[in-house]
């Protein structure tokens, strides 16, 4: 048996040794290759449409030809100066989303406080039921609400639209707020109680700050979802007011106006900016994990 030795002293030279077997190498490379290729295709596929739209929006031509014949910002100025109906629709969508999200926050946060930390079966079921609109086609929700309002004789208005949007945005806020509540350390509340704080005070000073990020993230997602929604708006808009996505759709279907590309460009840019802001303020990427 050779003498044992300690660090620093080199051993005698030894043979170079076997490498990886060719079968093993092939196996490993084929796995990496397939996954790498598919992943790359997926990534490109994921981003390409957004990039194409952005580039097309700067075309100097009149069609959606890609690559564009030249570049200019004419369609953005056309959007800004010559499209009052689009701007009107944009403002309406904004108002609608803001009101709906605000109402949803109130309803959903209250429900989350009541249900999130309960383990009983009925609470779990109740929460699942409240979250169900996430999985149901919003088209069906829109149609059913239309029938309801017709039956009730209220007709359609901005407020019926708001009701529809609240129905589809509350689940998002409920979900993120519940997740935040679950992550909260119960010992914090117990300490606050033992120090003599009342329930409202505890909510304001302990609970709310801790779940604010979850609420904000949910509100952001809900807001975007409401702003972008077509299905519910399709059934519940009256003729006077059209939300932006629907107006865009008309443009695309009828004339394939390049202004639609400009609108898309603005919306994409706005979403990107908001997303980055939300990430810094509320760390929303964690909500998606």
């Amino acid at each position: 048996m050779p003498d044992v030795f300690v660090s620093g002293q080199p051993a005698a030279a030894a043979p170079a040794g076997r490498g990886e077997s060719w079968r093993g190498g092939l196996e490993r490379r084929s796995f990496a290759g397939v996954f790498g290729l598919l992943g790359l295709v997926a990534a490109v596929l994921l981003l390409a449409p957004t990039v194409v739209v952005l580039i097309t929006s700067f075309t100097s031509g009149y069609s959606l030809k890609f690559p564009p014949p030249g570049y200019s910002t004419r369609w953005y100025s056309a959007l800004w100066n010559e499209s009052p109906e689009l701007i009107e629709a944009f403002v309406l969508s904004l108002e609608l989303a803001a009101v709906a999200t605000a109402a949803s926050v109130v309803l959903a946060v209250a429900a989350a406080l009541a249900l999130a930390r309960r383990r009983e079966a009925w609470a779990r079921t109740f929460e699942a039921v409240l979250l169900s609109p996430l999985m149901l086609p919003s088209l069906a929700i829109g149609l059913s609400l239309l029938m309801l309002f017709n039956l009730a004789g209220t007709g359609l208005s901005f407020w019926t639209l708001v009701m529809g949007h609240v129905a589809i945005t509350t689940p998002y806020i409920l979900r993120t707020t519940s997740a935040s509540l679950l992550q909260m350390d119960g010992a914090l509340l117990e300490s606050a109680r033992s120090l003599g704080a009342g329930p409202v005070h505890i909510f304001r000073t302990v609970t709310l700050p801790l779940i604010s990020r979850g609420i904000l993230a949910g509100a952001f997602i809900g807001f975007m979802y409401s702003f972008d929604n077509v299905a519910v708006s399709l059934f519940l808009s009256d003729a006077r007011s059209e939300v932006l996505p629907i107006r865009m759709w008309h443009i695309i279907e009828s004339s394939l106006d390049v202004r639609a590309a400009a609108v898309s460009g603005v919306l994409i840019a706005a979403t990107l900016v908001l997303m980055v802001v939300m990430e810094r303020v509320a760390g929303i990427s964690r909500q998606f994990r």
């Binding site: 030795f5 170079a16 490498g19 990886e20």
Partner: protein
Amino acid sequence: MQEPAKTSGVGVTLDQIHHRYGGSTAVESVSLEIPAGQLVALLGPSGCGKTTLLRIVAGLLRQTSGHVRIGGETVDAQPTNERGAGIVFQNYALFPHMTVEANVAYGLRAQGVPAAAARKTTMEMLAMVRMEAYARRYPRELSGGQQQRVALARTLAVRPRVLLLDEPFAALDKNLRLDMQIEIRRIQRELGITTLLVTHDQDEAMSMADRIAVMNAGRVEQFDTPETLYDRPATLFVATFIGTANLIGGQLPTSGGGPCEIACDGGGSLALGRAAPCSRAGKVMVAARPEHLSLAAPSTDALPATVAMVLPLGPSLVYELLLGNGRTVKVTQPRNGGERRYAPGEAVGVSLRAGSPAAVFQD
């Protein structure tokens, strides 16, 4: 029960292993020769690089430079699944969606062993770790110790050339730990398989290993048998990491051959009883174990101290003594050895027992 065939032990050589990760060096210039069939422990505090080294041997990590040789053959270019290094993880890593039997048979089936033969070997392995009755259970139904035995059976089923254990007992209750240590040692000896064990628990290393490599900040400070490490630590770190050691600072006078005396800070001197280990004069640090020191009436060739506390601990008395320079020294004395006892407040002289080793480290 059929005896499982002995795995032929092979030696493992680590040749100048360096590993950098991020901006820091995880392993620095480590060379070790692990003889076939022996159990070697990599011992050190967390972050010392021992787990990194283990993963390098397993092939889970590719070292920045240096070579790993198993059985004399350089394996650097071989990927994990061809290296024949069986590894048992700290959390056992049993496949939760497979039964115990399927877990143990996994490696065999992966390497193309037909189902019938795999089943036979699986049951042999389970018998060896005494888990045959649990073949159809799922990992989540087993206790920590049971899971570890299954993990061991799974690793050994594929007859690895080398067995690697990553802090295997860290997740077990203290009582269970000793039983499992004995069990694993028994299996290791029976199979004659070369084993590398990573741990931060020195008692574990001292009781299980044939040799221990004490690691600190990526380097191996000493690689020796447990007794040698205890009696003759090579560095200050080893002296304090293994067992308890009193650190006494002092000055080494110019050596003139013959037994030397250290002039200690705080007055007094300590006679080493043998030739000076260091050639040049200057500042030194003496590391002496509590049981290697003795107490007597104060004298010029002893270390002056005052007794601060006396505590009985099992068969010994532990004295906590205050030196002149404010430092403390622990000395243990057998309770029924017939030696004179001292009470708190008494002045005593501390000296090295005749024939006892003490380590001297020079700055």
